[in-house]
Structures are given as C-alpha cells and as structure tokens.
C-alpha cells in the first residue's frame, strides 16, 4: 500500500505529464496538419518560424493571446466564456483513463501505473465526458446571440448526439468479447495473440467513423461549414477563446486516436513483444520496458492522427442529409448487426447444443 503523501505526489506527476503530453501533441498536431496538407497540395507549408517551421505552434499561440478579445455586448458574458472553457475541460478530461504504458515497478516493489486512474467503468466514463462535450458547443453558440452561431451549434450537437449512439453500439460488441469496461484490462488482454481489431474489424470501422464525427473533423466538419454558416458556432469568438475551441478539437483528435490505438490495436503491446524483451534482456516492470511501451503506443497514436489528417485533406464534406442518413440508417443497423454476429459467434457452442 502506498503512503498517502507518496500517492498524491505520484498521481500529481502522472496528471501533469498526461496533461502536458495531450497539450503538446495537440499543439504540434496543428503544425503536422499544416505540413501534411502542404505535402498533399504540393506546397511548402509553414517554414518561417524556426527550422522547418517548428516554432509555428508557439507563434500561433502568442498571436491568439495577443489578439483583441471581443465579447458581443448583447450576449450573456458568463455563458459566452463558459462555452470554450467547457469544450477545453471535457477534451482534457478524457485523457485521464488512458494507460500510457506497462506498470513501472520501483525498487521497493510498489507498482506505478502510467495512468491517471483506472476506473472499472472506463468506457462509460468516456461516453459520459463525450456527451458533456456537447454543452461547450451549445452554450457557446447560444450565448453568442447570433443566428449563424446558433444554427452551427445545433448542427454540431445533433451530429454529436446521433453518432454517439452508433459509437456506443459498436463498443458494446467489443465489450462482449473482452468482458471488461476497464481500459487497462482491455489493453493487457492484447499482450499476447491478436489485437482486438482482428476480432472486431467492423466495430473498429464504425468506431473510427464515429470518432471522426465526434471530433467534428472532415468529412464531418459541417458545424464549421463556412459557405453555409459563415463560421459555425464560433463565429463570434475571437482571440484565445476561439483558440480554445480549435485547440479542443485537436486534443479530442489526440484522445480518440489514443483510444482507437489502445483498444483496437493493442496500445503499448506489439507483436513478439515478449521475445523482444527477452532477447534484449529487459526485465518485467523495469523503467525501460515502460518507456518502450509508451513509445510504441505513441507511434500508433501519431499514425492515427496522420490518418485523421489524410482523410481531412482527401475527402469532400458531407451534405447534412447524407450525414444523418449515414449515422442513423447505415451505421446504427450495421453496429446492431455486429452485436448480433458477435453474440452468435461467442455463443455458437450453446446454440449447437440447443438443437442437438
């Protein structure tokens, strides 16, 4: 049992580290996004601030803070500020349940998990936070007192609510096969043998599409459809409050990439991990093992972020009725079918026994 003071210090370090990683990756995602789109469009991309434009996120941040802050005087000031704050808060909260590596065992035998908290309702917590995330957009759009903002907010939230259902249903099939809601347990189950993607390819596809829709990324970026809505729910926002909305999107993208990479692709596990650790002479629970696991997980996450960006710069935007059609009439029946098929495969022996 850990001492209370040690426990608090250790958890604080993990919290700050998880937070800093999320913010750092989100900041550099903006740089990757711009470079990536430049490559796809045969341009150079940002290359003025620092080598390869690496200081560009910093320059953008400074610019955001320096800009004049405008609060429309007919809007509700408190709610106007609350909107982006909630968007940022919920984006950061989801990172709390992701285990970043194998447990690190100290010299005195206490195990330190590289995770803020392992709650046994991990997935439900994720859905709870995601469903609260709608409020940030709705409150912001309403408090702006602007018709375009309100329309953008309503579009965004109806999209998020619609895709949450398919997302939940696709996860149910996964939970049936793993038998656990805890992230750490699902990741640890994949340390030998196949990753969950091999058992749930359809579930992964549905979850991935829903993750795109939940983070308001292209081709589901209708809430910010400039041609129809001027600028979407953040039309009235300026300065860092706009920055918070944009930044929250990148943090959401990072977290959903982490969930996808962890739950479906094994997270910190990789093929022949045991053999690799044995040949290199890395002991179970050593710091090096945790570090290698973390790096492997991180590379998978970066891969997913690049996939998100690739999709954004390749596919055109959906029309609104196509979006709703895809969500309600295609993804939900497909995910229900996925649950039924998973159930039949899992209980095949019992079904056969029933007819004999």
């Amino acid at each position: 049992m850990l001492l209370v003071s040690t426990f608090i210090i250790y958890k604080s370090i993990v919290c700050v580290a998880a937070f800093a990683v999320a913010l750092g990756v989100a900041a550099y995602s903006t740089w990757i996004e711009r470079k990536f789109s430049a490559v796809l469009q045969d341009r150079k991309g940002p290359n003025r601030a620092g080598p390869f434009g690496l200081l560009q996120p910093l320059a953008d941040g400074v610019k955001m803070f320096m800009k004049e802050e405008i609060i429309p005087n007919v809007s509700n000031k408190f709610l106007f500020i609350l909107g982006p704050s909630l968007a940022m808060l919920t984006a950061c909260m989801t990172g709390a349940i992701i285990p970043w590596g194998k447990d690190f065992v100290a010299a005195d035998g206490t195990a330190y998990a590289l995770q803020v908290t392992d709650i046994n309702i991990g997935f439900l917590y994720l859905f709870g936070v995601v469903s609260i995330g709608v409020y940030g957009i709705m409150i912001g759009g309403w408090a702006s007192n602007n018709k375009y903002s309100l329309l953008g907010a309503i579009r965004a939230s109806s999209q998020m609510i619609s895709y949450e259902i398919a997302m939940g249903l696709s996860i149910i099939a996964l939970i049936m096969t793993t038998g656990s809601l805890s992230f750490r347990e699902i990741l640890n189950q994949q340390d030998a043998g196949l990753c969950n993607f091999c058992y749930q390819p359809l579930g992964f596809l549905i979850f991935f599409i829903c993750a795109l829709a939940e983070t308001n990324r292209a081709p589901f970026d209708l809430p910010e459809c400039e041609t129809e809505l001027v600028g979407g729910y953040h039309t009235e926002y300026s300065s860092m409050k706009l920055g918070f909305y944009l930044f929250a999107e990148y943090i959401n993208m990072f977290v959903s990439s982490a969930v996808l990479a962890g739950v479906y692709f094994g997270g910190y596990n990789f093929p022949f991990a045991k053999e690799f650790y044995e040949t290199c002479g890395i002991a179970e629970g050593s710091a090096l093992m945790s570090l290698i696991g973390f790096l492997v997980y991180f590379m998978k996450v970066i891969g997913f972020i690049l996939l998100f960006m690739w999709i954004r710069w390749t596919l055109p935007r959906f029309r609104y009725d196509q979006l709703m059609d895809l969500g309600w009439k295609k993804l939900i029946p497909l995910s229900i079918l996925n649950i039924v098929v998973t159930g039949i495969v899992m209980g095949w022996k019992d079904i056969v026994a029933l007819f004999n």
């Binding site: 439900l124 709608v134 709705m138 309503i154």
Partner: protein, 171 residues
C-alpha cells in the same frame, strides 16, 4: 482506505449544498436556458452522491442519460423556440397555489417514508460492493432477468411509438 471518513462527510455536505442551491435556482431563474443549465448542475451533484455511495455505474449512467442526452434535448427545444421572458404565458394564482400544494404534499410523503430509514439501515449488513458494475450486471441478468426484459420491451415500444408520432404522414 486513502480517504478517511471526515473528508467524505465534507464532500457529502458540499454536494448536498450544491444540489439544493442549483435545484432552487432552477425554479427561481428567469431565463429558461439558465434553468436547464442549473438542472444539469443538480444532476452532477446527485451523480457525486452516487459515487460517494460507491455506485459508479449509476453515477455515470445518470450523467450519460440525464445530463448528456435528455437535458441536451431540452436545451435544443428551448433554444429553438427562443422562449424569453416576454413570451412566457402568465400563470394564474389558482395554478400556482395548486402547484405549491402538490409539491408540499409530495415533500410530506417523502419525509414520512424516510422517517424510519435510519433504523432500517441498521438491520441490513452494508455491502459496499453492490453498486459496482459486475455485481449489478449479475443481479440484473440472473435474479431480475424477467422484469429487466419486460422493461426493455416497454422502452422499445415507446421508441417505436415516438418514431410513429415523428413521421409526417402515415401511409
């Protein structure tokens, strides 16, 4: 145990205070959107109470269903209808009096039914693990399977009904 008992008691009082204050603000605030947001805060405070009772599943489902789904729909309707102070219909005194009477009666019944609760808790040994999702699932799918399935069919029926009402014309 990392948390000693006084801290949870402080949390209990804090959450109760938040729940009661926000509950009152739901009734007293003039703007319907503010009322909805205060109601969401009340739900959060109640979810906190569930966590204090070690009922994690109930707490998170409470947030997902009430704060995440139902209140978002409420907010939707209120924002779209743009209900503001002027267009709110004036309620007459008789209706207000009836509402106060009904609320007071409900309070009386609740107080009456909870009066003997302290002695009741003494008779049953307290199982702190009962609210965890594993135990809850076992109870629902073993001991109470039939009522559980019946209620799910009821919900399915309600959903089909909602779709039928929502359709513009029935062919």
């Amino acid at each position: 145990m990392l948390l000693n008992i006084p801290l949870t008691q402080y949390l209990f009082y804090f959450l109760s205070f938040v729940a009661l204050l926000c509950g009152l603000m739901v009734v007293f605030s003039k703007n319907p959107v503010h009322s909805v947001l205060y109601l969401v805060l009340t739900f959060f405070a109640i979810a906190g109470h569930y966590i204090l009772l070690n009922a994690q599943f109930l707490a998170i489902v409470h947030i997902v269903v009430y704060a995440g789904a139902i209140m978002v729909l409420f907010l939707f309707v209120i924002m779209l209808l743009n209900l503001n102070h002027d267009s709110e219909p004036h309620k007459n005194m008789l209706l207000k009096g009836a509402a106060v009477l009904a609320g007071g009666l409900l309070l009386m019944v609740l107080t009456g039914s909870l009066k003997g609760a302290e002695t009741l808790a003494m008779h049953q040994p307290l199982n702190t693990q009962v609210g965890l999702i594993k135990n809850l699932g076992t109870v629902l799918f073993k001991d109470f399977l039939f009522p559980f399935e019946i209620s799910s069919i009821l919900l399915l029926g309600a959903m089909v009904g909602a779709v039928m009402i929502g359709k513009k014309e029935i062919k």
